[in-house]
């Protein structure tokens, strides 16, 4: 019953095309260096030349790609102008960070091959320079010593060693600098560091500037040498290689002319670099627009709500913004989902206080103080965004399943509020006919700030006589004995003892198999959007369920899975 192609097809295609281009570039450039022009170079270093140049080409390609998925404003713009395109294409733009990571891994992989090949190159160039007897390697290495000719062997003297040469050539030094930057970027981007100590990840990641500078100047020394095209005509290696002792003395075989490859990398990366600079400028300009905090609310379980106003701010449901608080930190921007609806006159975020920056923000906004804070005492904020994510698409499906785990419910707060406003305004343009909402949470405290919203929605639906439009379930995944006992005692009451809602809280985890089956049964032939904001494990489970319960028949029911990622 699976229709895997509907959910994953286009992503797989993109990945395959990307891999295909990588393989093509690798093989193509490997073969380029098997050409006659590089015959004498290969006499000195063998296949290591091709093994170094092939990954270099792939590195050019991947370094061009890596900056593009993180141009948030560009992607949002593409997403916005793609409203008329099929949903499938916009879904690919959601997976930008995944693609960024894949390209990064490929860069690391090719860097490894490139470096290992060059280790052999350096060693063999050194061996050639250390030759005592009159071998072809010796003769080739001597060209350029005091005879005003361009050299072949980049190691010019036998009184040095490969390490010294690596650190005294432009190529070597820039290579080492770029590689170190890359290694530091990668180690600080590990999941553990990123999730727990965001600042380390964010600041270290800016070493990419060093990486790109090193990359662009890497080829300036023109250290990859080969025969000039005209020299190949006069000194054909297939004829003259054997007669190396008589080069210049015999009319058939003059001394070969060498030249270096000009740097090519800049041609690949200049475009994305300009785009990225432009992206940062846009972010900077947007951040300079005046933002005012109109209300601060402290909720239980260390959640801070900030309501703000900014001139000309326009948002869609489920988008996120980057916030900066200059009084806390000049350089740090952190992403937060917008929890307000587009119909409101302000925009709000709910921030969980877990790290340095959030703690300092909490204190700057008044902290634990209970008394009223003057508006002018509240810190100035800067806002970049909003940026579009998966939840924007919610209103494009007839039936939607929304699943939020813990703090992951925040984008759906925006959706539900928007639903409420549209209902209030009798908006007939509302496309979803039915919304299934699941909130999974460990503890009961986290309910309070959301319970109000659900309570109003519940009342609204009852008044309009359309209690069926929104069906929601709340699951307490971390219940203990005391709660279970409390629940048993109050079981018969009309309202839930924890939340005060008519809909009772459920305990444990939902049985997704059943949920999907029931929903598929209720809406045959419909396209059902499944939206999740939560942990990876749940994403895998829901993704699988979506695939399994989708009909192979295009007229049957289809579940399309979208995941929010931070």
């Amino acid at each position: 019953m699976g229709n895997w192609v509907v959910n994953e097809g286009l992503s797989i295609l993109v990945i395959l095309v990307w891999l295909g281009i990588n393989i093509f570039l690798f093989v193509y450039y490997y073969i380029v260096y098997l050409d006659e022009r590089f015959y004498y170079t290969r006499v000195l270093v063998g296949d290591a030349l091709s093994w170094a140049r092939a990954p270099a080409a792939c590195l050019n390609f991947n370094c061009m790609l890596i900056l593009l998925p993180v141009c948030r404003n560009l992607l949002s713009f593409l997403r916005g102008s793609c409203q008329c395109c099929s949903r499938n294409i916009t879904r690919q733009l959601d997976r930008n960070i995944t693609f960024h990571k894949l390209v990064a891994y490929m860069i690391a992989f090719h860097t490894a091959i490139h470096i290992i090949a060059h280790l052999f190159n350096f060693e063999r160039f050194m061996d050639a320079q250390l030759e005592q007897n009159e071998t072809i390697a010796y003769v080739l290495s001597q060209i350029g010593n005091g005879d005003n000719r361009p050299y072949l062997n980049p190691i010019r003297t036998n009184e040095t060693n490969p390490t010294f040469v690596a650190f005294t050539t432009i190529a070597g030094l820039s290579g080492v600098a770029s590689t170190l930057a890359l290694i530091l970027i990668i180690t600080s981007s590990m999941e553990v560091i990123r999730r727990s100590y965001f600042e380390v990840f964010w600041f270290t990641h800016h070493l990419f500037v060093i990486f790109f500078i090193g990359l662009v100047i890497h080829g300036v020394g023109e250290i990859v040498r080969g025969q000039t095209a005209s020299s190949v005509l006069t000194n054909k290696p297939s004829n003259c290689a054997a007669q190396y002792k008589d080069w210049g003395k015999v009319p058939d075989c003059p001394i070969p002319q060498f030249t270096g490859n000009p740097p090519m990398t800049w041609k690949w990366v200049i475009g994305p670099m300009v785009l990225y600079v432009f992206e940062r400028l846009v972010r900077f300009w947007r951040s300079k627009q005046k933002v005012v905090i109109t209300k601060v609310v402290t909720h239980p379980s260390k959640t801070l709500e900030l309501q703000m106003k900014k001139k000309g701010f326009k948002m869609e449901v489920g988008q996120y913004v980057n916030l900066q608080c200059p009084s806390v930190s000049q350089l740090e921007w952190h992403p937060f989902t917008l929890t307000s609806a587009p119909e409101e006159d302000h925009f709000s975020v709910h921030i969980r206080i877990v790290g340095d920056w959030t703690q300092q923000l909490f204190e700057a906004c008044g902290g634990e103080k209970k008394e009223f804070q003057e508006a002018w005492k509240l810190p100035k904020m800067a806002v970049d965004g909003p940026f579009g994510t998966a939840s924007e698409d919610v209103f494009r499906y007839e039936v939607v399943m929304l699943v939020g785990a813990g703090i992951g419910v925040t984008p759906f707060a925006s959706v539900l509020k928007s639903v409420w406003y549209r209902y209030f305004n009798n908006d007939t343009g509302l496309i979803p006919k039915k919304i299934y909402f699941y909130w999974l949470c460990r503890e009961t405290n986290a309910f309070e700030w959301f319970a109000d919203l659900l309570q109003s929605l519940e009342t609204q639906m009852l008044e309009k006589g359309n209690a069926d439009f929104l069906s929601y379930r709340i699951y307490l995944t971390g219940w203990d004995e005391a709660q279970a006992a409390h629940f048993t005692v109050h079981h018969e009451e009309e309202n839930d003892p924890i939340t005060g809602l008519k809909q009772k809280t459920l305990y444990g985890r939902p049985n997704w198999e059943n949920e999907f089956k029931t929903i598929a049964g209720n809406h045959p032939g419909a396209r059902i959007g499944v939206f999740l904001c939560g942990p990876e494990v749940l994403a895998k489970s829901l993704s699988k369920q979506s695939i399994n319960h989708s009909d192979a028949d295009p007229r049957g029911v289809h579940f399309i899975f979208n995941k929010e990622n931070f």
Partner: protein, 183 residues
Amino acid sequence: MGQIEWAMWANEQALAAGLILLTGGIVGVAGQFKDWQFAAYGIAAGVFICLLEYPRGKMKNKDTSIERMGQRYLTVCVKAFGPLTRNYFVRAGLHAVLSVPGGFMLPTVLGCVCVAIASLIYLLAAIRGEQWEPIMPRVESKQRSGESMKEPPRTHPAPRAPEETARGCCVRQPRSHLCQLCL
């Protein structure tokens, strides 16, 4: 930057550095480079560093620390050295010393610099008073039932709806699920 545990990053960096040193060493030995003895050292030092750094320490801030796959066995070994492995000044010094011979040969130079950087980050962690604490497996608290059959059990099964409402619409879920009242 109050709540950052630098040791976590130092650990990632050191593990990566160990792998890089190891790879450089293998290249140097397999390619029979001059001064291959330094490459052989690189292999030995790289393996040692990887083994030392593989078990991740416990994070102070978080309740749940993330273990690397299969690190339990190495945790026991590393824990056995007591203060030598717990103290980050010792680790910083150890890594600084281990990095030096790598600098004498090109294949291991990158490993040398990476291990040195890890050493510096560990030094920073040590100055801020961080320590390596092993992640030990959590002991499951056993719930014992009462001494005799007549005592009520100390744990209660999940409460269920009364039989009348359950009949006809209730779907009994396996494991810990409560019987859902259908709407």
